[in-house]
């Protein structure tokens, strides 16, 4: 009886093409993009604001920094790991960078912070006016966290979940200690432009007034977009066109087999965690620039839900061995559209988070279904 129930029922000849089409759709690189477009088109008649130029510009501006962070998570998940420390890295590097490059430091706010008189003074940070050096210092700090994470995972065989959870707590607490939880403002304009600056803006409509209201001018190309797209293209090439990329996929698919095949598994794991932290640092630049302040608590709360959610929805496998930058781009687009549409429906934050959680669960189930489909086809 049991054997009969577990035995797969052979599909009828008529059902086979349908199943094949469904399987093809599920396994397609473009599946999430089609899903995103379908979701958008279904909601458009109900929520016309969704398609307005202002909302689309807003949607994209929310997508760029999330994409940057999710790209790093994609690499970690592709090797079968997870990086829970990305939010803490964002808090630490945004605070550190802001302290170094700030043009002024208010003593009434920062005088009790350990970094006061060390990294930041009343007339600004020690690297004030040297933006590139400040960015480099941020990247170094981020890379250091990734190096520690990667080393512990690769050389001590500790679970990535545990290592990065500890990093999340300790690095987050360290960031708060640095400024005693104060935010650091007075960032140079050149830094703020990285998060808020526009390169190309558009106005759609007739020119009836000599001065077009600012509200009707929409950003099209921003510095944040430029950074995110450049990074996405670079990481796409890294994963798809280089030996390093193939090794990342091999480690995720089967670590033991990769080792036997001569892949430097430990080095790959360390590099992937460093890459993840570097992506989080670039995300820190974009987030802190748009908020015009370094914040030790940036990246806290449900931020990690957004990053992991977008990556999983994109299709990167939770089991490792499968991951594409393009998938993450689509995942981020879907996730940002989802958040935006739920906001436009005037749902409460709690309902929005519940829906997001449900969608991520659905994406995880889809990942299981895809993995089974692939096994069945092998």
């Amino acid at each position: 009886m049991t054997a009969m129930l577990t035995q797969p029922v052979p599909a009828t000849p008529a059902a086979r093409p349908l199943r094949r089409t469904l399987a093809r759709a599920l396994l397609s690189d473009w599946f999430v993009l089609w899903l995103t477009l379908a979701y958008f088109l279904i909601l458009l008649p109900v929520l016309p604001t969704l398609g307005t130029p202002a909302n689309l510009a807003n949607l994209l501006s929310n997508a760029w920094p999330l994409l940057v962070v999710a790209l790093g998570q994609t690499f970690v998940m592709t090797i079968g790991g997870i990086d829970l420390s990305q939010g803490a890295v964002i808090g630490l590097t945004s605070t550190l960078g802001a302290a170094l490059i700030a043009t002024a430091g208010p003593p009434e706010v920062l005088s009790k912070a350990p970094i006061w008189g060390l990294l930041i003074f009343e007339d600004g940070g020690v690297l004030a006016g040297q933006l590139w050096l400040g960015l480099l210092a941020m990247l170094l700090a981020g890379a250091l966290v990734g190096l520690v994470n990667g080393t512990l995972v690769a050389w001590l065989d500790m679970p990535a979940f545990m290592v990065t959870l500890v990093s999340l707590i300790t690095v987050g607490a360290f960031a708060i200690w640095l400024t005693q939880s104060e935010n650091i403002r007075n960032l140079p304009d050149s830094y703020v432009a990285l998060g808020k600056g526009e390169i190309v803006s558009v106005y759609i409509g007739p020119k009836e007034e000599p001065q077009i209201p600012r509200r009707q001018v929409h950003e099209l190309v921003t510095y944040a977009a430029l950074v995110a797209v450049t990074l996405a293209v670079a990481l796409h090439l890294l994963l798809e066109r280089t030996a390093f990329g193939r090794q990342v996929l091999a480690v995720g698919a089967n670590r033991r087999a990769a080792e036997i095949a001569g892949v430097p598994v430990r080095r790959i794991i360390v590099l992937v965690f460093v890459l993840s932290s570097l992506c989080a640092t670039v995300g820190a630049v974009l987030y802190s620039a748009r908020l015009e302040a370094g914040r030790p608590t940036l990246g806290e709360g449900t931020f990690l839900l957004d990053v992991i959610g977008a990556t999983v929805i994109g299709g990167t496998s939770l089991f490792g061995g499968k991951g594409k930058v393009l998938w993450t781009v689509f995942g981020v687009l879907f996730f940002v559209l989802l958040s935006n549409s739920l906001n436009l429906m005037n749902l409460s934050t709690f309902h929005i988070d519940m829906v997001k959680g449900g969608v991520i669960l659905a994406a995880a189930l889809l990942d299981v279904a895809r993995t089974r489909l692939l096994r069945g086809m092998a």
């Binding site: 403002r185 600012r214 748009r290 302040a293 709360g301």
Partner: protein, 332 residues
């Protein structure tokens, strides 16, 4: 007269005022969270009043995430709202959000938690330093009357110093004590970051290290239950007419503080006039919308006052928390 007005109409007291003249508008009300009684009462006053006056209110709760709040405000702007009322996460993010709204020609009012830069937007703010000074001055004088043979040991629970309200309250505390020179020992500072759990951990440590604290000032009334949970096991949570009473003052004027003053555990609290502040924010934003003014800049100050065990009888119903208390708020 004023107390009758408030208790009779509660949070919807000025609905009719706002309903006259102004056309129905869509207002985005973006708040950082509703953790304290003050924010809950402020939220209720604003949403109920605007809705009853025929306006549409789009609510956004950022759940204490400044980045999320910025994105929510951008969503509101994209939705084409006529105006924004915001309770920001902190003074720094408020500056950015006000700038964003004004860049998009949407009038914005900041309710109670002011931006670090007061020059932009409609800012409704309490005179925190003066209110705190009044409340602390009362307990300082009480302390000097009771303790004459040694320096008095004060303790202040400081808020998140990224919030100008917290800075003002701290300044008011020190201004009050400075007047009395060496009668007071150096105050012990306990950080709360506006978080009860953080305050609890830090206060436990401070009281363990310094058991002889004579006076406590909390920068917000919502921390009185936290103070109680630290003092009660040590036998220091006693009313003012009993031996071992620790003099206590706070700021906000919430229902819990009102009850504790009546019960004798708390001696004074600085009162922010919540209804005045809510009414001012709503009136100013609706006036700006009506006038087609997209970047109104105005600072509206709430002078506030201190409710003490001495003036409780006369001024009780001037405090919003006592009004709520009389309506059974704490029982609900």
């Amino acid at each position: 007269m004023r107390s009758t007005f408030l208790s009779a109409l509660g949070a919807t007291a000025f609905a009719t005022l706002l309903g006259t003249g102004a056309q129905a508008a869509t207002i985005c009300f973006a708040f950082q969270d509703l953790e304290t009684e003050f924010w809950v009462a402020g939220h209720k006053a604003i949403t109920t009043t605007l809705t009853e006056a025929g306006h549409t209110v789009i609510e956004r709760n950022a759940n204490e995430d400044a980045n999320r709040q910025l994105e929510q405000v951008n969503d509101c702007i994209a939705q084409g709202v006529d105006g924004i009322i915001i309770i920001p996460q902190d003074g720094e993010s408020a500056v950015t959000i006000v700038q964003t709204a004004q860049d998009n020609d949407v009038p914005i009012a900041v309710f109670n938690r002011p931006p670090s830069d007061l020059s932009k937007g409609i800012v409704v703010v309490a005179d925190n330093a003066t209110i705190a000074e009044q409340a602390v001055d009362f307990v300082a004088q009480e302390a000097m009357a009771r303790i004459t043979d040694r320096p008095i040991q004060p303790l202040i629970i400081v808020g998140d110093l990224g919030d100008p309200n917290a800075v003002g309250r701290k300044d008011g505390f020190y201004a009050a004590l400075q007047k009395y020179g060496d009668k007071f020992a150096t105050p012990i500072e306990v950080a709360s970051e506006w978080d009860a759990a953080t305050a609890l951990a830090n206060l436990e440590a401070a009281v363990t290290a310094n058991p002889n604290i004579d006076l406590i000032f909390t920068s917000s009334d919502f921390l009185f239950p936290t103070i109680r949970s630290v003092l009660e096991p040590r036998g220091k949570w006693v009313p003012r007419d009993q031996e071992g009473h620790v003099l206590m003052a706070g700021l906000d004027g919430d229902a819990t503080a009102c009850q504790l003053i009546k019960d004798g555990f708390v001696d004074a609290t600085g009162v922010q006039d919540l209804y005045f502040e809510a009414e001012s924010a709503m009136n100013a934003i609706l006036a700006a919308i009506e006038a087609g003014e997209t970047q109104p800049n105005q600072v509206i100050e709430d002078p506030g006052f201190a409710l003490t065990s001495a003036n409780l009888g006369e001024r009780e119903m001037d405090m919003w928390g006592c009004v709520l208390l009389s309506e059974g708020f704490l029982n609900n």
